[in-house]
Symmetry: none
């Protein structure tokens, strides 16, 4: 899907932005870059900023006019600041990602056009697009760096592509942990109650709300087997350490249980 | 909402990335920047790349340690490459945006931590977070530039904020819990470690993996204020009960700590 996506940079003035854009693309799994009339060819400075994405630079195509760069594409998206003079169907980056991947899945070639650092795309260039993509930036300061805009739109393309892949089998999100049997969990709660009684925090016969609140807390965490083992080990050591002074705390129960209840 | 969001850059080596991050933040409407032990202070090079966001740089706070930068935050998100050695509750940038804004709406302070360009965040730093945020990048080349990561997560925060504004009466579902400040949570973990040492379950100087695993468990549960109070009460009573027999268990430390390590 993502290999159906082509990023087209028009009239880029600073080759470093071409390098950063290449890096941004590759981190999101997009590799096809076309440069239309770049003012600087991507050389040393661009390669430095491309970091591990110099292959994207090396494979970039340089063209003289935008129409040629779009010729074999069936969906063309043009990024732009919101444009009142030119009323065109407009998408958010998220909508653009969904639409772009939908068409890519059906084998279509999709182009995303990014304009000049200072002046963006001309109205004539914008009119070559099926949709305009507007990043809903801070109205007080909406000037994203060119490569940042490439990162943002590429990110949404990738998110849409991943969603399409995951959709079929609805992968459970990381629920592969090894959970204890319910009876083991109950065994832990009984042990916890014994240990809290041993320290004098609660009276066994009148635990108040303490056990209920602790159950709620631990259930929310849903301890795994190995975690339950650690907790059992902690409780055992608490019982051992309390042993010597249990009688003392038995006498304090009436007061210490108040502590417990008040919590 | 977005003015409740704080971006925290840890150990940034290149000040130009601080400048680009400031620009990325401001284009998405986020203004609060904290720098923890930056290797270069943001000066000329950073200001050049900040472009129209030099005010974000000028207002940035510089701190000596991460805990101070998070002390007054009730939700802490840490960006990380997926981490197999440290299995922590993980969010996509989109999920992080929704969660961050939900809590910001209820007045909470939200921190997003970004690590060093080369090495990211240490496990110790990652463990200070409630959630890890993983950008689902291209497995063949997942190295986003630092400022690109700031742009992406800030973009999702802004998208979530805009969605909330558009649907104001959509009450955030059950995000009204009263969560403790981060410094209170750290205070609990310190108390827990002292108590486990008092019972002889761990040696203070060699806690092994026990504290990490317990942090992971409790962070997953995300204790509310009243629950944290109960846990503090339990730890206090454990320390009281252990007091009488501490010396005995000091002698056992080497063996009992093995129990801990083996779990």
């Amino acid at each position: 899907m993502l290999n159906q996506i082509r990023v087209v940079l028009v009239g880029t003035t600073d080759q470093r932005n071409i390098g950063s854009a290449a890096r941004a693309m590759k981190t999101m799994g997009i590799h096809e870059l076309v440069l239309v009339q770049p003012e600087e060819l991507p050389e040393g400075k661009a390669q430095a900023l491309a970091a591990g994405a110099t292959d994207v630079l090396a494979n970039a195509t340089i063209m003289d006019n935008l129409a040629d760069a779009l010729a074999d594409c069936s969906l063309v998206l043009a990024t732009s600041a919101r444009n009142r003079t030119l009323d065109w169907p407009q998408l958010t980056p998220r909508e653009a990602g969904v639409k772009g991947i939908q068409e890519a899945v059906s084998g279509a070639k999709v182009a995303i056009i990014f304009g000049r650092e200072a002046s963006g795309l001309t109205n004539e260039e914008l009119q070559m697009a099926d949709f305009h993509v507007h990043i809903p930036a801070n109205p007080d300061y909406s000037s994203l760096n060119l490569a940042m805009a490439v990162q943002t739109v590429s990110y949404e393309m990738r998110m849409a592509a991943l969603a399409t892949q995951e959709a079929p089998e609805q992968a459970p999100q990381g629920i592969s942990e090894d959970y204890p049997l319910h009876e083991d969990l109950e065994g832990f709660y009984n042990h916890l109650e014994r240990a809290l009684a041993a320290t004098g925090f609660i009276i066994r016969k009148h635990p108040g709300m303490v056990m209920t609140k602790l159950r709620r807390l631990f259930n929310r965490a849903r301890p795994e087997k190995n975690e339950l083992n650690i907790l059992r080990g902690v409780l055992a050591s608490v019982e051992r350490a309390s042993g010597a002074s249990v009688t003392l705390h038995e006498q304090q129960d009436s007061t210490t249980s108040q502590d417990g209840e008040n919590h």
